[in-house]
């Protein structure tokens, strides 16, 4: 199964490419700095190819990258501190904006943590609908990744193709959640509203036509000579290095480690669905590209199965202490009125404790650590962002790389700076 690195104290292990002593930074050796003509270039926060506000300070010896330092924090928003000041219900709006490409995956991690602390069960319709939406989010994220990664390496037309397909996915989100991005559709206990009429038909139409769309996009890149030259053998990351650096998701699976949280620790309805997890061996940029394209195909398969097997029934649990009662009950039942009042004014209270919930977001393992003191507001919320650790791996992937490969490598790690900086 997976590789476990066992080593002596003081040494990571033989054959590691992780720089030492600082694992996330390539430092120019002093003798190189004195003898050679080193040029320090700043790929500043405002750069067309760095997927957001990432700053890379790079030392170049000709075209070779001999020094690399990734500086982040240009999008730090203070999510965690803000969420400590909002009630549990209001705080659900925040996690969506952390990873703004797969927004509902973040929302789901936080909501799952609340549900774990509250120990409530969601009805099956909500579970399956959440699975469907998470897979649509995965498709959305990979489409944007594909469009922008191809754009940066020169395959510009793919940007328009992928964003056109992305608009179809966003239409589905708008149909179900009211807005294209950041739908805030998940609630502690299920979904915020019932699924509107017409959603399943539109989703079925999308799922039927999308696999051929992916095939069309693949013909543009997969066997294309320029793409192969620019991505094959670039940005190598071995399996043991990837685990030591905490990588997960497509980056880890491209290095040969068969690890996917949807299979290893099934959550939502993934345990009952039939899908494959692509794993490739080489650990280069090309394999990461192949994995994401294959994951899009698998996601459409999952969407298909969710549409087939979607149960009917309530969309949210009926635990009145946490969920608003339906409005017609407020006219007849005094307790419902009181519950409604307490939930809307004070907010529901979550039992004391700490939990850590992980979700397989399109970037990898997205974790949410929640500490509750039993009150109406979270005490501490921390998000474990996979892009944060992916940037730590930049230095390892960039050992013996050229400056032109830097864009390909940073693109293949699929970082979203909102996640990195939170």
């Amino acid at each position: 199964m997976a590789v476990v690195a066992r080593n002596q104290p003081g040494v990571i292990y033989e054959g590691t490419r992780i720089p030492s002593p600082i694992p996330s930074m390539l430092v120019v050796p002093p003798e190189v700095r004195e003898s050679d003509d080193i040029l320090t270039v700043n790929f500043g926060p405002n750069h067309p190819s760095t997927h957001g506000v990432l700053r890379l300070v790079v030392d170049l010896d000709g075209e070779d990258v001999v020094g690399l330092n990734a500086l982040v924090g240009y999008l730090h928003t203070g999510f965690e501190k803000n969420m400590e000041h909002k009630t549990w219900w209001k705080a659900i709006t925040y996690p969506e904006r952390i990873d703004y490409l797969a927004f509902q995956a973040n929302e789901y991690a936080f909501v799952a943590a609340i549900e774990k602390l509250l120990d409530i069960e969601t009805p099956p319709k909500a579970t399956w609908m959440r699975t469907l939406l998470l897979e649509l989010n995965r498709i959305h994220s990979h489409l944007i990744w594909l469009g922008t990664a191809a754009l940066e390496l020169g395959a510009i037309s793919l940007l328009w193709y992928c964003f056109n397909a992305r608009d179809l996915v966003l239409d589905l989100f708008e149909l179900v959640g009211g807005t294209r991005m950041h739908t805030r559709y998940f609630q502690a206990g299920g979904l915020a509203e019932d699924v509107p009429r017409g959603f399943f038909t539109e989703c079925r139409k999308f799922a039927d036509t999308f696999p051929s769309t992916i095939d069309q996009y693949e013909t543009l890149l997969t066997n294309q000579k320029i793409w192969l030259e620019r991505t094959k053998g670039i940005g190598l990351l071995s399996a043991a290095d990837a685990i030591a650096l905490g990588q997960s998701g497509p980056v880890l699976r491209a290095s040969g480690v068969d690890w996917d949280l949807r299979k290893a620790e099934p959550y939502l309805a993934y345990g009952e669905l039939d899908f494959d997890v692509p794993v490739y061996e080489n650990g280069d940029v090309y394999d990461r590209y192949l994995i994401r394209v294959d994951e899009m195909r698998e996601s459409v398969r999952i969407v298909d199965q969710c549409l087939e097997g979607m149960p009917s029934g309530p969309w949210i649990t009926d635990d009145r202490k946490v969920v608003l009662p339906p409005r017609h009950e407020l006219h007849t039942s005094m307790e419902s009125l009181i519950h409604h009042f307490k939930i809307v004014t004070e907010g529901y209270r979550v039992p004391e404790g700490e939990v850590y919930v992980t979700v397989e977001s399109p970037r990898g393992e997205f974790g949410c650590y929640v500490v509750s003191d039993g009150g109406p507001k979270p005490w501490r919320v921390k998000f474990r962002a996979p892009s944060f650790v992916a940037l730590e791996a930049t230095a390892t992937c960039m050992t013996d790389a050229l400056v032109a490969d830097m864009i390909a490598i940073v693109g293949s790690l699929d970082t979203v700076m909102g996640e990195v900086d939170r």
Partner: protein
């Protein structure tokens, strides 16, 4: 999986299906190596510092606030208002570990620290701890000894204070509402 052989183990508790191992900060690196080498926790998922200043002084744990969960069928069996259990020290550092086995195993390694008490770096055990520990220093002010590059990561380099502490204000601006003129 038994954690009796863990060096420096102070307490092992289970709640919500998760295992938390509290260890002595001085023996953290030994415990980390033991977990990685003997028990196979090769994947460090997250390092989270938490500030418990003011724990239990604000809103009391309410009707649903028992650590063992809620029993909706027997509401009367729970105490009404209860303050949460006090914490040993002000800060906790939680290391979330994962064993990439089948079935997977997760564990939380936790140390408790006072204000200014340093914690040793686990960067030689899991290199990914580099940026997590920098963030712990930047956001919470927990000094990490043995870290090769302990500088601020999310805030400006010359920022004053540690924003995620409970005594650091939320900041921002007061919002003027039009009816208040």
């Amino acid at each position: 999986m038994t954690f009796d052989g863990l060096p420096g183990l102070v307490e092992a508790r289970e709640s919500f299906g998760e295992t938390t191992l509290v260890v002595d900060p001085a023996r953290l690196v030994e415990a980390a190596r033991h977990l990685r080498d003997e028990l196979g926790f090769s994947f460090l998922s997250d390092i989270t510092p938490t500030d418990y200043l003011g724990w239990g002084e604000g809103s009391a744990a309410g009707y649903y606030g028992t650590a063992s969960g809620r029993d909706i069928n027997a509401p009367g069996s729970q105490a009404l208002a209860r303050t949460p259990a006090p914490k040993p020290k002000r800060f906790s550092m939680s290391y979330h570990l994962l064993a990439l086995t089948s079935p997977p195993a997760r564990v939380r390694l936790q140390v408790w620290l006072d204000d200014g008490e340093p914690v040793p770096s686990v960067i030689e055990v899991w290199p990914t701890a580099d940026w997590h520990e920098r963030e712990a220093w930047d956001m919470m002010g927990i000094p990490v000894t043995g870290h090769p590059n302990l500088v601020r990561i999310l805030m400006d380099d010359d920022w004053d204070g540690h924003p995620l502490r409970k005594d650091y204000p939320i900041g921002g601006e007061p919002v003027r509402f039009s009816g208040e003129e």
